[in-house]
């Protein structure tokens, strides 16, 4: 186990190195932020001074090595715009984004499991069809559009909920519902398909023949065996949520790191973009590791040596 974790840690460092290099190179190739940082009337001397001050007059590999050297010390450079450490800017906004991701995963799972089980235990009934049509709409509708529809309904027409900002639970409802819409639809399909597969197998017949309560057969015996693919997709979805949070944060003016990313891309604020990439990569590594460990928890046949 320790060896496995150590191996994963080394892999993680490799991933970081490659991601930082790719992002760094791409950003250097993109363009010069100087024009955006200085007032349009600045003369050449001012531009040169600014460029030297930010270290942009050096060749890219010198910039990258300097970047790496300070990255090891936890310093990912200073935001061109905010004049604050980039990593701090991102980390400050991380909890807000994580709040969305975690709540969405929780809500999606809690809503999707009963719906999926319900559909699988009543195949080809109107209930099953209704759930299937709902999930088809759910996986087809673009996330940002769902957010807009929810705002039109619950903010503009009904006036029940606020449309922007972060605060109490009432601020959380719409962004989480927006993000959860697609995941619920996907999970329902997954659980329904998995349950239908499992329910036809012999050990379920045995469990029923033993006279176990139907509820016990379904939730203890059948559901457990549909969970492995569910955990895999769940992990992928959790990563995807970090990406879709960018969209949702924009619509609901949620003060997370996704909104910071969009603003920083617009301003060509490289250090912040690189810091975002590094923090996101770390997040994915943690999520993937969590998924792998969850497998071992669910399926005793899986062991990490």
């Amino acid at each position: 186990m320790t060896r496995y974790l150590a191996q994963r840690f080394l892999q993680m460092l490799g991933v970081f190195l490659i991601i930082s290099l790719v992002v760094f190179l791409l950003l250097v190739l993109t363009g010069d932020p100087i024009e955006l940082l200085l007032p349009p009337a600045s003369d050449l001397a001012q531009i040169d001074a600014m460029r030297r001050q930010l270290g942009l007059d050096r060749p890219w590999y010198v910039q990258y090595v300097k970047f790496l050297a300070s990255a090891v010390r936890g310093d990912l450079g200073e935001s061109f715009y905010f004049r604050e450490p980039a990593i701090r800017l991102v980390l400050e906004r991380l909890p807000a984004s994580l709040e969305l991701v975690v709540w969405t995963m929780a809500v999606s799972t809690v809503v999707a499991i009963p719906l999926g089980v319900l559909a699988a235990t009543h195949p080809r009934t109107w209930l099953d069809r209704l759930i299937l049509v709902g999930s088809l709409v759910g996986i087809s509708a673009p996330t940002f559009w769902i957010g807009i529809v929810l705002i039109a309904l619950f903010v503009v027409s009904l006036g029940w909920l606020p449309s922007s900002g972060r605060g109490g639970w009432e601020h959380l409802v719409l962004p989480v519902a927006t993000l959860a819409f697609y995941r619920v639809a996907l999970f329902v399909r997954l659980i329904r398909a998995g349950m239908l597969d499992v329910l036809g197998q012999d050990y379920i017949r045995t469990a029923r023949a033993k006279g176990l309560f139907e509820r016990l057969v379904i939730y203890r015996h059948a559901l457990k065996n549909t969970l492995i693919p569910f955990v895999t997709i769940g992990g992928i979805q959790m990563g995807g949520l970090v990406a879709f949070a960018v969209v949702t944060e924009r619509i609901f003016a949620w003060p997370g790191m996704g909104r910071l990313l969009l603003i920083s891309i617009e301003r060509l604020d490289y250090p912040v973009v690189v810091a975002y990439a590094i923090v996101t990569a770390a997040l994915f590594v943690v999520i993937n590791l969590g998924v792998d460990l969850l497998y071992a928890l669910i399926d005793p046949r899986i062991r990490y040596e």
Binding site: L27, A141, F144, I148, T232, G239, V242, I265, F284
Partner: protein, 302 residues
């Protein structure tokens, strides 16, 4: 996305030639009302997109300044679905927007398929170092969400419909490569490949004539899963201001331009384009489900 799901479904279809399954496919279509609905919906939406220049009552860029944010008049009046904030006809813009969505989807997927299939066949056929490098790269890219990679790439290479088609198309190579590589590994051990080699066929001929036709079925399944994602990605990027330029009639741009006016009561410029986009995607998903069932040997046996 349902990456693992789709790949499992795709893997199950390995080695099945499309032609051999056609009969099943048509029977599935005839007997399934949802599949028929999907084909009807998809044909309608694609038809609207194709015929946009004929059907659109207005030039999508023409501004009717006297009628800004005009509500939908439905089928009477000059603007059946109303106008947007600068007085452009919404129906015409939605039709042209669908056209951009469909063009984008087909163009991008074509690039992904060509790159991915080529990489997958070569990696699976030659194995060795090339295989290891290609698959590592694919794994690495697939460990990041598609939207995030697309967002980064679009932010770097900038706007323009054609550029974006290429960027998103290139990013899509990984899933196709991994799936096709898996199928190729299975097919290259078959007797007919050995026979071809014994007869003195060269590698490129074996790959093109013997392996390629036998790994295409899972590709079709994978296309049906990735096409909706690609189309929605374009809309999302355009919505975020990182997609196509403002002069392109994209559904994402329309929604972005419209949703600021939600609070002044104008719901149509943002809700209606999204509805059109969703109908297109529902159509593709329904047809995709049918294809998946028809091409999946595990399901047809039931």
């Amino acid at each position: 996305m349902a990456r693992i799901l789709s790949q499992q479904a795709a893997q199950r279809a390995v080695g099945r030639r499309v032609a051999a399954r056609e009969h099943w496919a048509w029977r599935a279509l005839r007997t399934s009302p949802t599949a028929l609905a999907g084909v009807a919906l998809l044909t309608t939406m694609a038809g609207l997109a194709a015929l946009a220049p004929v059907l659109a009552p207005w030039d999508p860029q023409a501004q009717d300044l006297g009628r800004r944010l005009h509500p939908p008049s439905w089928w009477i009046g000059p603007h059946p679905l109303g106008t947007d904030a600068v007085g452009r006809d919404l129906l015409s813009n939605i039709l042209y927007g669908l056209r951009v969505s469909v063009t984008f989807g087909l163009g991008s997927i074509a690039i992904s398929v060509v790159l991915g299939v080529a990489a997958g066949v070569v990696a699976g056929y030659y194995r060795g170092r090339l295989d290891a490098v290609l698959m590592r790269a694919a794994d690495m890219q697939l460990s990041l969400p598609f939207l995030l990679v697309a967002l980064a790439a679009a932010a770097i290479w900038g706007r323009g419909l054609f550029k974006l088609i290429v960027v998103v198309g290139v990013i899509g190579w990984a899933e196709f490569a991994r799936t096709v590589r898996g199928s190729t590994l299975a097919v290259r051990e078959k007797e007919f490949v050995e026979a071809a080699r014994a007869l003195g066929a060269l590698d490129h001929r074996i790959m093109a004539r013997h392996i390629l036709p036998n790994v295409l079925t899972p590709v079709i399944v994978l296309i049906s899963v990735t096409l909706p994602r690609v189309i929605v990605t374009e809309a999302t990027l355009s919505f975020l201001g990182l997609g196509v330029p403002l002069t392109t009639p994209s559904l994402g741009l329309l929604i972005d331009g419209g949703y600021k006016y939600l609070f002044s009561g104008a719901w149509w410029p943002s809700i209606l384009p999204g509805l059109a986009l969703m109908l297109l995607v529902v159509g593709i998903n329904l047809v995709g489900d049918w294809l998946r069932d028809a091409l999946d040997p595990r399901l047809t046996r039931r």
